[in-house]
Symmetry: C2
Subunit: 644 residues, 2 copies
């Protein structure tokens, strides 16, 4: 049992999580390292190459942690259970493959052509989270239906491709001919054009040549988009949502059920213990002192623990029945109501009235008002400065204003500390945020003054580095906006929306994890396939755009040079751009030219996985959370309905 | 009562609907008439102008129909009810305004500058459908919450705009400077850039200049898109869905409730009638013969009527209790199971076996197989012909093949008619479709042969008109695809999907109506605002692209000339293109240049109404329908739950 406790302690799990993130982040500094300032092939400096053995030694440490983790798990689960658990077996397999691959790569002095273990790394993240495993299972369940909609989509696509090719096959007039030459040249071209139209990424362009000749051709494209994009794509969303809806409900239900079962089991154990000792004179039940004894040993939130102990004490010496026992643990569901420490008490009546004044919430309003003024001043200066060349700007007034605002914030902080006491001040999270911001602003402002001296007319801090100190002050000042977020809970519909957002973030972890896994795998595959394929244009790499010859809308003309697969960070951004779907026909076309027609398969499958499946999953999660927040009683009702 | 019956008869409602569609479709031929072949300002011929008085006389006829409709409704509703009903009062108002406007325009000989009544026309469509009114009410209810998300979006947008302007304000390096000059020049420009980025329509472009200089700038754009497009936009979807979900459920519920109430009322009336006559010897109840008497008078589907009468007859002479009465009408919910007429009986054993052979469903399969072969042959020839110039194609083999396939279809049709009898053949809708297709194909093929004579090597039908006869044959042949739709119900997941689609189409009418209204109003406003603003380029209108000077990605370079507001049909297509959202920054930019900065308001509001609200509504409808089909029992359960 101590091993079990030790394994699930914070320290152990923390080490494991840290190892997982460490091994995942290795991809940024491994051989095609991302430590250059830009990913643009024209301006890129040769990247820093880590010496052989640096990343490998970090990696082997992580792998050893995983080996320890696996052996502990295996010991805890027992041999028979272990062999039945597919995830654990896969874990074992992945570890073995990784270690073998690692030894190969060390013995070849890091010159091996392919690293299999990089592809397998996300598996560690996947197997460590039960939520992710559940989500994966749910996705697997909904695959058949998605496949059926996919089939419909494919039929739709093929039919319209054939139809379009017939329609634009003629050589009668110019518009039809240009349409044919541009978008319906041959079967693969026509298929790609319509697939891209399905994502609406080339919407008006694809119909322009034909539509310019005759209005009626527009109907073909509109019907295609209506059926494909609006109808079938939304059907896919509906399917994913309908599957996913049941799934979240189920997981809620099982967690509720498990807790009840656990409480009941604890009750049975405790009652049998007390029964043994005293031969149960007043019926079966748990003696409160036993419960207290156990409670003090258990790890719990301190607030919950205190509430539980109080509740138990209120029962005195009477043994508890099962339902009473259950009811006590319902306390756990209640949210924490934090108490703020008492205000310091001052003797002098003047100090007391001042305390009342500055502790009042009108004082908060005044602070917000001043912050609004600050924001407005920044905006006004931005708008005024927009038309002036950066060299001619005069930041004198803004500098003075900034000083005044920062002084006010400091004053406000000090007064609040005085009114509420230091601990009272820190007990409000909003105050902590304000105080932190004020302190940072003060430090920055003082250093600005030290560097550039006091503002005078014509004063303009020099720019240096990515962001000058002075710009930093202005950016931080923008963070004042977050003070206004505090007003949100006071408005009814805003409050619902905001609480949904907060709830969503908690549920997001599993999805974020799956997204990380998918991005990771695709980025690694992309690097292996397309590394170094995009080459810089033959010009001398000067800043003058040398793209006069490239046709409009091509990869070269749009200067998408930075969207390549030459290192991990660049691959991530490229994948993001394809996931957002807009203009992805440019990527399709460029990679077809640079690397061959089969690259399309990679991009289309990435589109399917990310944009179609993941975005829809995200939407489903959102809907589910929102409906749950919106009318929880009807949801709980249906929960109860399925429980019966 | 007779007036009521007459008013709700098919003829009357049909006239009303016809008048509505007629008055709506007038927009196509009214003064900026859409009867030109293309909407492209470069190639457009001067449109046909209808003589003054033609559309006006049609219009006044429709208006008179509406006046009659309104007076009947007013009479039926009664004066007191009429004054309380806002819709009817608005109807009256709209009619009066339209008639006044009409007289003005006739007295000015159709030269008036503005026609108010055009804007008001969609109101007739709106007020005639109770579903649309309900949907509108539902949209109005969800406005507060949508406004709160909108506020969040606006805050998000403003904050990032400020942040972006600060970030790109410097003149330090080239990338930052180009970013500033292109997308963050001044406040309106920066706002527009980010608003467009919210719809992801300028996704990779907007970040390219900055990202090429430094990787870190990409984070700004990715965070913005993540929060804005994925998070807040989906939140909007969730809100609309959550409001809309309750609404459809409620409308289902009320329709169920109304029917029950109606049945119950009918029961009460009938039982009191029979009670009066006979002083109710065996308790209160409805005598079956009374019911039969009533049933025969009522308009009903003949199948339902027969089932009801049979059911009633089975009760014999015993009076019916309320619950029995209710149960009888449940028959109405059952779907129609159509019986096919018996096959003709032949005497000769040979004919009988032939009948068995051709009536068997394997024969259908054979037909499908042949149709598949037809499709494949068309596709193969398309792919082969794609690389050949249209002038050099040899359609000899295809022509021969086509003849054979058409002959087979004719043979199949005749054999089926022989096996099933003519009435039996027509009782399957799929057969009707096949037969129709075959007949049309036969006629076309014969006329093709008559025009071009019999195929010989090197045979190639001439092209003439929009589609030559020969192309028409090939297009029609493509319709063979629909034969395969029949296979769908045999596959389980496909069947669910297909039935959702069918159910959706029934529910679509209200939404389609609202879409028509919105498109109509915006198109008319757009015509009034932007008519004639896009002028053709100064070139001689030749076919050579004279856009070498226009920068890439501009309206002129992309040749979007056809997307204007010069007539109604062109306006519809332009609005569609903006609704699909891709590349809409091009429209924003072009109309800003041609017409002034305020045109942005029109496009942004159209984007909000169509793309944000309507598309989300559509998605909500889809989800609701699908979930309803998917697990109807849980839905009904929650229905019952709210009913209690």
């Amino acid at each position: 049992l101590w091993l079990y406790r030790w394994y699930y302690s914070d320290l152990c799990q923390g080490t494991l999580n840290f190892a997982i993130y460490l091994i995942l982040s290795l991809a940024f500094i491994e051989t095609p390292s991302s430590l250059s300032r830009t990913a643009d092939v024209r301006y890129r400096s040769p990247p820093w190459e880590p010496p052989c053995g640096l990343t490998e030694s970090v990696e082997v440490l992580c792998l050893l942690v995983f080996v320890a983790d696996l052996s502990t798990k295996g010991y805890l689960f027992g041999r028979a259970h272990f062999q039945k658990n597919l995830w654990l077996l896969a874990y074992l397999g992945v570890l073995i493959v990784s270690l073998v691959d690692w030894t190969v790569s060390v013995s070849l002095l890091c010159r091996e052509p392919l690293r299999v273990r990089r592809l397998l790394r996300p598996f560690f993240l996947l197997q460590n989270s039960s939520m992710m495993k559940k989500t994966l299972k749910c996705i697997r369940w909904s695959l058949p239906q998605m496949a059926s909609v996919g089939l419909l989509l494919a039929i739709h696509l093929c039919f319209f491709t054939m139809f379009g090719m017939l329609l634009f096959a003629g050589e009668k007039d110019d518009g039809q001919n240009r349409e044919r030459m541009t978008y319906f040249r041959n079967l693969p071209d026509a298929l790609t054009s319509l697939l891209v139209l399905l994502t609406t990424a080339n919407n008006p362009d694809v119909m322009i040549p034909a539509y310019s000749r005759n209005r009626a051709y527009a109907i073909f494209f509109i019907v295609f988009t209506l059926i494909g994009s609006l109808f079938l794509m939304n059907l896919l969303t509906a399917i994913i949502y309908s599957r996913f809806r049941g799934y979240l409900m189920q997981s809620l239900q099982t967690s509720l059920f498990r807790r009840r079962l656990g409480t009941r089991a604890a009750y049975e154990v405790l009652s049998s213990m007390s029964g043994k000792g005293e031969a149960s004179p007043q019926g079966v039940g748990v003696k409160p002192q036993n419960l207290l004894h156990v409670l003090r040993k258990v790890q719990l939130n301190s607030f919950h623990k205190q509430a539980l102990i109080e509740k138990v004490c209120s029962y005195g010496d009477v043994p508890l029945s099962a339902s009473e026992f259950q009811r006590i643990f319902n306390e756990l569901d209640k949210t924490v109501v934090k108490e703020h420490p008492a205000r310091p008490e001052y003797q002098s009546p003047f100090l007391q009235s001042a305390q009342f004044l500055f502790g009042h919430y009108y004082f908060d309003y005044l602070g917000n008002f001043i912050a609004l003024g600050n924001l407005v001043s920044i905006c006004v200066f931005l708008v005024l400065d927009a038309d002036v060349l950066p060299g001619d700007r005069d930041d004198f007034i803004l500098g003075i204003l900034n000083c005044i605002f920062i002084l006010y914030y400091v004053l406000e902080m000090l007064l609040k500390v005085f009114a509420l006491g230091l601990r009272g001040y820190l007990s409000y999270p909003s105050n902590v945020f304000d105080g932190l911001l004020t302190t940072v602003l003060l430090v920055l402002e003082i250093s600005t003054l030290a560097v550039y001296r006091f503002p005078h007319p014509g004063w303009r801090p020099q720019m240096q580095g990515l962001l000058s100190l002075w710009d930093m002050v202005r950016l931080l000042n923008m963070l004042i906006v977050f003070r206004f977020l505090r007003i949100i809970p006071n408005m009814k519909p805003m409050a619902v929306v905001a609480s949904t957002v907060l709830g969503l973030i908690q549920n997001m972890r599993a999805f974020g994890g799956i997204l990380v896994v998918v991005y990771y795998v695709f980025a690694i595959i992309g690097i292996n396939l397309f590394r170094g394929i995009i080459v810089a244009p033959p010009g001398n790499g000067s800043l003058a755009p040398a793209n006069g010859s490239a046709p409009c809308g091509s990869f070269e003309q749009l200067e998408y040079w930075a969207n390549n697969f030459d290192d991990f960070a660049a691959a991530l951004i490229t994948l993001w751009n394809v996931m957002v779907v807009n203009n992805w026909q440019v990527f399709l076309d460029a990679y077809r030219r640079y690397s061959g027609p089969w690259s399309k398969i990679y991009f289309v499958s990435w589109w399917l996985v990310s944009s179609v499946i993941w975005v829809n999953l995200f939407l489903a999660l959102m809907l589910e959370n929102f409906l749950h927040k919106w009318d929880p009683q009807s949801h709980l009702q249906s929960l109860a309905g399925t429980e019966e």
